[in-house]
């Protein structure tokens, strides 16, 4: 019998637990541990003893109540309050949005309960309830007792439910914010890592070194120049990627070195230019993005095209923004669906993480042929200047 009850209770507890949220479940577990393992039940016994003691004192007042009656009544009231307090403590989510309705309903129900109880008591004692309630003093007593208990009960539970709901909301918001924050920083770190991996391809290194070797063996002076450009490219690429931010000037220097190398390797198949407007040269920019676009232009535009083409890289100001265009006249992309490469997806992700809606990467067909990528991103200095100097005339 006991085993049967226990198994039914376990099934019930399981069902209730599984319907709770993670935060609620944690609370219930903590209470469970406190009550059964750390002797929380002793408090319950203590409360019962204390209440009984109080009811003994109360029964000594001329209240027309025996000790047994007072002990049962007081203990019922106190235990009911504790019970409802606990149910509000753990079941606060059921009160959410219904607290006001509850505050109104509880005293009314308590009042009806008191009237019903008094009627039953009357019947038991052989008093007609209608006669009993005609005594206005007695009716007032019953009504007062019912209302006082109902209001007390409603206030305690509603207050607990309200506070707990507020705590729950705050905790949920906190957990969500924390999750979002760690997600953002994780994505940022990841996209940085991906960019790092993309940067220096073995293909590029082997082919460049092979070309340099060939030039050197023939005693051509271009060998030294090619190696010089490779060194400049590697030096620019290596520390820049470890930094959070680079500048347009630095990125442009790396791109020039890179395109110089590719020019030597590809010969007549490549023509190029890199132009940096003076007023954006010092604009901070996440490292590695524009060189990725340039590498794409080589890899997907010039290299697949037998006749080759030209690459033009343009850094300009556009209001408070920096506008960066990498355009090639190479192979372009096939119609319909095409693989755009991890690089583009990564740049998109990265500027979205850093600048949100204020930055964009747009890709389109170049006129008359080839491919054109444009990044528009806020110039952090422009924003700083605005916030420091509200009036344009104060900007030097």
């Amino acid at each position: 019998m006991l085993a049967f009850l226990k198994s039914r209770y376990d099934a019930f507890a399981q069902r209730v637990l599984s319907s709770l949220s993670e935060i609620e479940r944690r609370d219930v577990r903590a209470f469970d541990t406190w009550f059964y393992r750390s002797g929380g039940w002793r408090w319950l016994i203590g409360v019962v003893i204390l209440t009984t003691l109080i009811s003994w004192i109360a029964s000594n007042f001329p209240w027309n109540m025996s000790f047994a009656e007072a002990a049962i009544l007081f203990n019922l009231v106190v235990l009911t309050l504790i019970w409802s307090g606990l149910s509000a403590w753990f079941g606060y989510r059921r009160f959410q949005g219904r607290i006001f309705r509850y505050i109104v309903a509880a005293p009314i129900l308590a009042l009806f309960g008191a009237l019903l109880g008094a009627s039953i008591a009357g019947v038991v004692k052989g008093v007609d309830p209608f006669v009993f309630f005609q005594d206005s003093a007695k009716l007032r007593h019953v009504v007062t007792a019912g209302l006082v208990f109902g209001v007390l009960f409603a206030i305690v539970t509603a207050l607990i439910a309200h506070l707990r709901n507020r705590e729950y909301r705050a905790m949920t918001a906190h957990l969500e914010a924390e999750a979002r924050q760690s997600e953002t920083s994780r994505q940022l770190a990841e996209s940085k890592l991906k960019l790092l991996q993309l940067q220096i391809e073995p293909h590029f290194l082997f082919n460049t070194l092979g070309s340099a070797q060939q030039l050197a063996e023939k005693g051509a002076p271009e060998a030294a120049r090619l190696l010089g450009e490779l060194i400049r490219f590697l030096r620019a690429a290596a520390p820049a990627l470890r930094d959070e931010m680079s500048t347009i000037r630095q990125e442009a220097a790396m791109i020039r070195a890179y395109l110089g190398i590719m020019q030597t390797r590809l010969g007549r198949r490549l023509a190029w230019s890199v132009h940096v407007a003076d007023d954006v040269a010092d604009c901070p920019i996440p490292p590695g993005m524009v060189i990725t676009l340039t590498e794409n232009a080589i890899k997907h535009g010039i290299e697949p095209s037998a006749r080759g083409g030209r690459i033009d890289v343009l850094f300009e100001r556009d209001g408070d923004n920096a506008s960066i265009v990498v355009a090639d006249t190479g192979a372009g992309l096939a119609d319909g669906l095409s693989e755009g490469g991890i690089g583009l997806a990564n740049i998109r992700e990265r500027i979205a993480l850093l600048y949100g809606d204020r930055a964009s990467l747009s890709l389109e067909e170049n006129d008359p042929e080839g491919f054109r990528a444009r990044i528009v991103m806020p110039d952090a200095r422009a924003q700083q200047a605005h916030s420091l100097h509200p009036l344009p005339s104060e900007v030097h």
Binding site: H203, G210, E303, P304, G336, S338, G340
Partner: protein, 251 residues
């Protein structure tokens, strides 16, 4: 054995081409390089013209790749692939007994290659088509899943990340690409799109509709026969044809 062996070199970078030629001349003077191609298409044309016994094919070239060229001429001459770093290809070459050289080429490797080729020249070339077919996809370059739709938006041609597409709908001649804000047209038929799209994310729900699951807010069940897809941020409902209703049984 005839004293002169003929060869074709296909390599798009002039310096690398020159280097291979110089080194070959150094270790294998009897070898005559009769043709030098700068891209895959030229390599096939030059092969047909000169009929060399050996073809040195760079894997990454404009036009046809080295693998594609090998698929065409591989049965008629001995192929030596050249690669800087295609590790998958190199593994497959080792397993499939195809010959290859690593760029930049080194003398001792070339000597070993020469000895192997001299033995091979007495036998007919082995058929590489199977090996090449297996490799083509892996050497194509980017294998990232991110894809873009190249589409006409007004007068411009734009690249739209495929994730931003809510659904594709066939429209007599074109395919409509519907986005959260606006839409575009492409010529690629739905059937072709379906094979390229990620099947985890894009479901065909109708003969004429492929929908992005991320854009779906729910399924409206008018009755057992007629069901519709409801979209986030869009008013229109997309009918699900009967053959696809089973996809949404559990939803």
């Amino acid at each position: 054995m005839s004293s002169r062996v003929t060869a074709l070199i296909a390599e798009d970078e002039p310096l690398m081409r020159e280097r291979l030629k110089d080194k070959l001349h150094e270790v294998w003077p009897e070898l005559a390089v009769v043709a030098e191609a700068q891209d895959g298409d030229e390599a096939v044309a030059m092969f047909d013209e000169h009929r060399p016994q050996i073809a040195f094919l760079d894997i990454r070239m404009p036009g046809r790749s080295g693998l594609e060229v090998a698929a065409e001429i591989g049965a008629r001459c001995h192929v030596v692939f050249i690669t800087a770093y295609d590790q998958y290809a190199v593994k497959a070459f080792d397993a499939g007994a195809a010959d290859y050289l690593l760029k930049p080429v080194e003398t001792d490797r070339l000597v070993a290659m020469k000895e192997r080729m001299e033995r091979k020249l007495a036998t007919p070339p082995i058929d590489l088509s199977e090996l090449v077919a297996q490799l083509r996809s892996s050497v194509k370059g980017d294998t990232g899943r991110m894809k873009w739709v190249k589409a006409a938006v007004g007068k411009q041609v734009k690249l739209i990340p495929v994730d931003e597409v809510l659904y594709f709908q066939s429209d007599t001649k074109y395919t409509r690409v519907v986005l959260a804000h606006g839409e575009a047209l492409i010529r690629t038929p739905l059937k072709e799109l379906l094979s390229d799209l990620d099947p985890e994310k894009f479901w065909q729900v109708h003969r004429g509709t492929i929908v992005n699951l991320d854009a779906v807010s729910g399924v409206l069940r008018e009755d057992a026969e007629r069901q519709f897809i409801m979209l986030k941020n869009r008013q229109e409902k997309l009918p699900i044809s009967r053959q696809f209703t089973h996809l949404f049984k559990q939803m």
